[in-house]
Amino acid sequence: MRLVARDLSFGYPGGDHQVLSGLACDIPAGVSAAVVGPSGSGKTTLLSVLGGLVTPQQGYFACVDANGVEHIPRDVSTWVLQTVSLMPERSVLDNACLGGYLDGATRAVARRAAMAALDEVGLADRADEPARVLSGGEAQRVAIARALTSTRPVLFADEPTGQLDAATTSLVLDAMFASARRTLLLVTHDEAAAARCDVVLRLASGHLEPKEFARGGARV
C-alpha cells in the first residue's frame, strides 16, 4: 500500500503557527520510512494526521493499493504506540487482541491472530500475564504484536523505542522489522532506528526533507 500526501497543512486550534505546512510525500508500498526531527518539529502530529487521528486544515493524503484504488489511511493502517499504550491490568493476550478488533475480527479470531503475533515477537508463553509485569522492552514487543494482529497493510509507529535502552531498542526493532511485512512509517528520535529503514525523512519547518535514501525510493 503506497502512502501519498500533498500540500498537507495542520495547526493546533489556538496555536500560533502551522505545525505542518504544505507537506508532501510519496512512500511506495512495502517500504519502511523513518521520520526524524527535533522535538516539537511535528513528527507525531504528522503521524496523527496521516493516521487519521486528527484532521488537517488543508491537503490531500491517501493510501493507494496496487490497483490504484485510494483508501483513507485510518481504514487501512494499524499502530505501534509508545510504551504507555498498553492496558496494564489486562493480560498480554487481551492487549494484543485489540489489533484484531481493529479489523472487525471476532474474539476467537482475534485471539488466534494475537497468539500468532505474540509467538512472532517471542512472548507467546507470557500471554496470560498482566501487561503491568512486563519490562519496557517486552511491553513494546506486545505493542508490536498488537499491531501485527491486524492484517492492515500500513503500520504507523510512534517512537516505539523512545523509552528503551540501546540493547532493548535493538530487540524491539528486530521484532518490528522482522515481522512488519507492510508499509511502515516510523517516527523516531533514534538515529540508529531510523538507519534501519529504507528511507529517512527529516521534518523541519513543517516540511519533509529527504535526509537519506536507502532502498525504498521514496519521494518528497
Binding site: 486528527v54 492496558m87 491490568e89 489489533g99 472487525g104
Partner: protein, 370 residues
C-alpha cells in the same frame, strides 16, 4: 470480517476490565456501597426520629378534637348519639361522648380512694384502642391504679355514690388500664365508665388524621351544634406548636432531604476522577477502532456492573444497621431503598454524562499532554 466493535464485544471488554482491575473495582464497589448505604441509613434514622416523634405526638392527642357546647348559651350540650355517629364519617377514626357526673366511685376493696366518675359512650374503647371486656368495664388511669392496686383485667366491685342525690349503688366491672394522656386534663384521675350513654354529654372526643383534620374540624362545628343553638366549640386536643414541629412540613424540611443528591455528586466526582486517570485506555480503544458508542458501552458496562454490586451491598448494610438500631421496618425499607436507588440513579446519569465528555485528541492523551 464482521461489524467492527459490536456491542457484545464492547460489553465483554467492560466485564474483562472490571475483572482485571480488581483493586480499583473493589474501591468503586466499596465507595458506592458506602455512599448509597450511608445516605440510606442516615435517612432511615432521620425519618425514624420524625416518625417516632409524630407517633408520640399522636398518642398525646394530635389530630384529636374535643367538642364542647358553646358556653354563651345556657343548658347547651352535645348530643351523645350524634357524637357516636361521627365514627362512621369518612376521615374520622373514632369518637366517643363523655359526661362528667356528680358521682364518685371507688373499688369496694379500697375505701377512701374515691374519685370522680365520668360516664362515656362505648366508642371510647375503639378511641383508646382498648379491647372491651365481656360485661361492664371500668377504665382506669395509671395514677388511680397505683393508688388502688387495680390491675388490668381484674373484675371487681365499685361503689358509686351520688353527691347530688346522696344515693349509692354497686356495680361489678372489669378493669381496663388506659393511657389517659390523650384525654383532657379534666378527665385525668377520673373513673371512666363506658355505658349505654344517651341524651346529652359535656364533651365529644373525635380522632382524625393529618389529611382530614381541617375538613373534620369544620364538619364537627356544624354537625355538633344544636339546632338553633350557638356554634359548638371545637378545639384541638394539642396545639400544633406543642411538639415544636409542624409534621406536615417537617419531612421535606429535613437537612437530609437532598442527601441522595449529595451522595450522587460524590459518586460522580469519584467516577470522573477514575475515568480521568484511565483516559489513556479510552484513547487506546479509540485508536484500535472502538467508536464512540462502543467506548460508551465499555464504560457503562463497567459502571453498572460495579455500582449495582455496590448498591446492593450498601442497601443491605443500611437495612441491617437500621433494623439493628431499632428503626421501623417499613420506614427502613422505604427510606433505605428510595434513597439508595435515587443516589445510584442520579450517579448513573452522571456516569453516562462523564462517558460522553471528550478526552481530547487521542494523540494528546496517548502522549499524556492532557
Amino acid at each position: 470480517m464482521s461489524e467492527r466493535w459490536p456491542s457484545s464485544l464492547a460489553i465483554s471488554e467492560g466485564f474483562a476490565n472490571v475483572k482485571a482491575g480488581r483493586r480499583l473495582s473493589t474501591i468503586i464497589v466499596a465507595a458506592v456501597a458506602l455512599v448509597t448505604g450511608g445516605v440510606g441509613l442516615a435517612n432511615v434514622l432521620d425519618v425514624s426520629v420524625l416518625v417516632n416523634a409524630e407517633r408520640a405526638w399522636i398518642d398525646k392527642g394530635a389530630y384529636v378534637f374535643v367538642v364542647e357546647p358553646n358556653p354563651s348559651q345556657a343548658f347547651s350540650a352535645i348530643d351523645v348519639a350524634t357524637c357516636d355517629r361521627m365514627a362512621q364519617v369518612e376521615g374520622i377514626d373514632a369518637s366517643f361522648a363523655v359526661r362528667v357526673t356528680a358521682s364518685v366511685a371507688q373499688p369496694a376493696h379500697a375505701p377512701g380512694t374515691h374519685a370522680t366518675l365520668a360516664r362515656t359512650s362505648a366508642g371510647i374503647y375503639e378511641f383508646l384502642s382498648v379491647s372491651p371486656p365481656i360485661g361492664s368495664g371500668m377504665l382506669v388511669s395509671d395514677g388511680i391504679a397505683a393508688q388502688t392496686g387495680l390491675v388490668d383485667g381484674e373484675t371487681t366491685t365499685f361503689a358509686i355514690q351520688s353527691l347530688e342525690l346522696a344515693t349509692s349503688e354497686e356495680v361489678t366491672a372489669t378493669v381496663r388500664l388506659i393511657d389517659a394522656a390523650v384525654l383532657a386534663e379534666s378527665l385525668d384521675g377520673t373513673y371512666l365508665f363506658p355505658s349505654d350513654l344517651t341524651g346529652e354529654s359535656s364533651q365529644c372526643y373525635v380522632r382524625t388524621d393529618a389529611a382530614h383534620a381541617d375538613d373534620v374540624r369544620d364538619y364537627l362545628a356544624v354537625t355538633l351544634t344544636p339546632d338553633q343553638g350557638a356554634p359548638a366549640i371545637v378545639r384541638p386536643r394539642l396545639n400544633e406548636s406543642a411538639n415544636g414541629l409542624d409534621f406536615s412540613t417537617a419531612f421535606n424540611q429535613r437537612a437530609l432531604t437532598w442527601g441522595w443528591a449529595a451522595g450522587a455528586a460524590i459518586l460522580i466526582l469519584l467516577w470522573t476522577l477514575t475515568q480521568w486517570t484511565r483516559r489513556t485506555r479510552d484513547a487506546i480503544y479509540a485508536t484500535f477502532g472502538a467508536h464512540a458508542r462502543a467506548r460508551l458501552i465499555i464504560r457503562m458496562t463497567e459502571w453498572f456492573t460495579l455500582s449495582t454490586v455496590g448498591l446492593g451491598w450498601g442497601w443491605a448494610i443500611a437495612t441491617a444497621f437500621a433494623i439493628g438500631l431499632g428503626a421501623d421496618i417499613q420506614v427502613t425499607l422505604v427510606q433505605a431503598t428510595g434513597q439508595a436507588v435515587a443516589t445510584w440513579t442520579v450517579a448513573s446519569l452522571g456516569a453516562v454524562g462523564v462517558a460522553l465528555i471528550p478526552v481530547g485528541t487521542l494523540i494528546d492523551t496517548l502522549k499524556d499532554r492532557t
